[in-house]
Amino acid sequence: MGVFINSVLILGILGFVSGTFLAFAAKKFEVKEDPKVKEVLSALPGVNCGACGFPGCEGFAKAIVKGDAKPDGCIPGKRQGVPEKVKAILSK
C-alpha cells in the first residue's frame, strides 16, 4: 500500500510542478497571434487531413489569413460551407 501511495504522490507532485512551470513559461513567452487565425481554425473541420497541402488545419488557417491560400482550398470542408464561413471571417 505504501508503494502505491508513494508512486501516486511522487508522480502527482512532479506532474503538478512541471505543469505549473510550463504554464508560467507559456505566459512569459506568449506569442501574439492574429485572432483571425483562431477563428478560421474553428471554422475548419479540424481533421488535419493535409489535402490542402499545408501541415494541418493550423497551417492552412495561417496561410489563409496571410493570403497564401484560398478559402476553398479545404477539400473536406467544401460541402459543409467552410469556404463561405472563412470568407465571412476574412471580410470582417
Binding site: 508512486s7 511522487i10 512532479l14 512541471s18 510550463l22 513567452f29 506568449e30
Partner: protein, 191 residues
C-alpha cells in the same frame, strides 16, 4: 582525468548517432541544411544537459524511497516538459527556426538518444559532474554527427548522383559510410 575521458568518449568513441544508433530520426530528418542542423543540435544538447541533471537528481530520490520501477515514466515526463519548454521559447525567440524544425522539435520528446542518455548515466553510476560532462559530450557528439552529415548532404545536392540514389537512398548510404568511419574509434577509450 576520468571526466575528460567521459567527455571525449561521448563525442567520438561512443557517439550516440554513429556508434549507438540512437536518435536516427532527426539525424535523417533535419540534415538537409546546415542552419537547421545547428538549431536542432543546440535544442537537443540543451534538453540533454538539463534532462540529465534533473533525471540524475530524481533518480536519487526514487532510489531513496525504493520506487525504481518509476524510472522510465519519470524520465519521460521530465524530457517531455523540457521539450515543451524549448518549443515555447523557440516559438517566441526564433519563429523561422521553429518553422524549419517543424515536427522534429516536439519529436525530441520521443528521441531515444535523450532517454538513452538519461538511463545510461544512471546505469553507469556516474556522479553529478560526470553526468553533466557526459550529457554535454553526447549533445556535442550528436551535433557533430548532424552537422557533418548536413554538410555532406548539401554537397550531394550538386553532385551527379545516379537517379536511384538521389535523395533519401543516397542519404542512408552516406550515413552508413559516415558511421563506418567512426567505427575506427572503437575501443580507443575504455571506461
Amino acid at each position: 582525468m576520468k571526466i575528460f575521458l567521459i567527455f571525449l568518449s561521448a563525442i567520438l568513441v561512443n557517439n550516440f548517432v554513429l556508434q549507438k544508433f540512437l536518435g536516427i530520426c532527426p539525424f535523417l530528418g533535419v540534415s538537409k541544411k546546415i542552419d537547421t542542423a545547428v538549431g536542432m543540435s543546440l535544442a537537443v544538447t540543451f534538453v540533454m544537459v538539463l534532462a540529465s541533471i534533473i533525471t540524475w537528481l530524481l533518480n536519487g530520490l526514487l532510489i531513496a524511497i525504493n520506487l525504481q520501477f518509476l524510472t522510465t515514466i519519470v524520465f519521460i515526463l521530465v524530457i517531455a516538459v523540457l521539450v515543451q519548454f524549448v518549443e515555447i521559447v523557440l516559438k517566441k525567440t526564433s519563429p523561422s527556426l521553429y518553422e524549419a524544425l517543424g515536427i522534429f522539435l516536439p519529436l525530441i520528446t520521443t528521441n531515444c538518444a535523450i532517454l538513452g542518455l538519461a538511463l545510461l548515466n544512471v546505469q553507469s553510476n556516474y556522479n553529478l559532474l560526470e553526468t553533466v560532462f557526459n550529457a554535454v559530450g553526447a549533445g556535442l557528439g550528436f551535433g557533430m554527427a548532424l552537422i557533418l552529415f548536413a554538410g555532406i548532404r548539401e554537397e550531394l545536392e550538386f553532385a551527379d548522383v545516379p537517379a536511384p540514389f538521389k535523395g533519401l537512398a543516397g542519404a542512408l548510404i552516406t550515413a552508413g559510410i559516415l558511421s563506418m568511419s567512426f567505427v575506427g574509434f572503437n575501443g580507443m577509450i575504455k571506461l
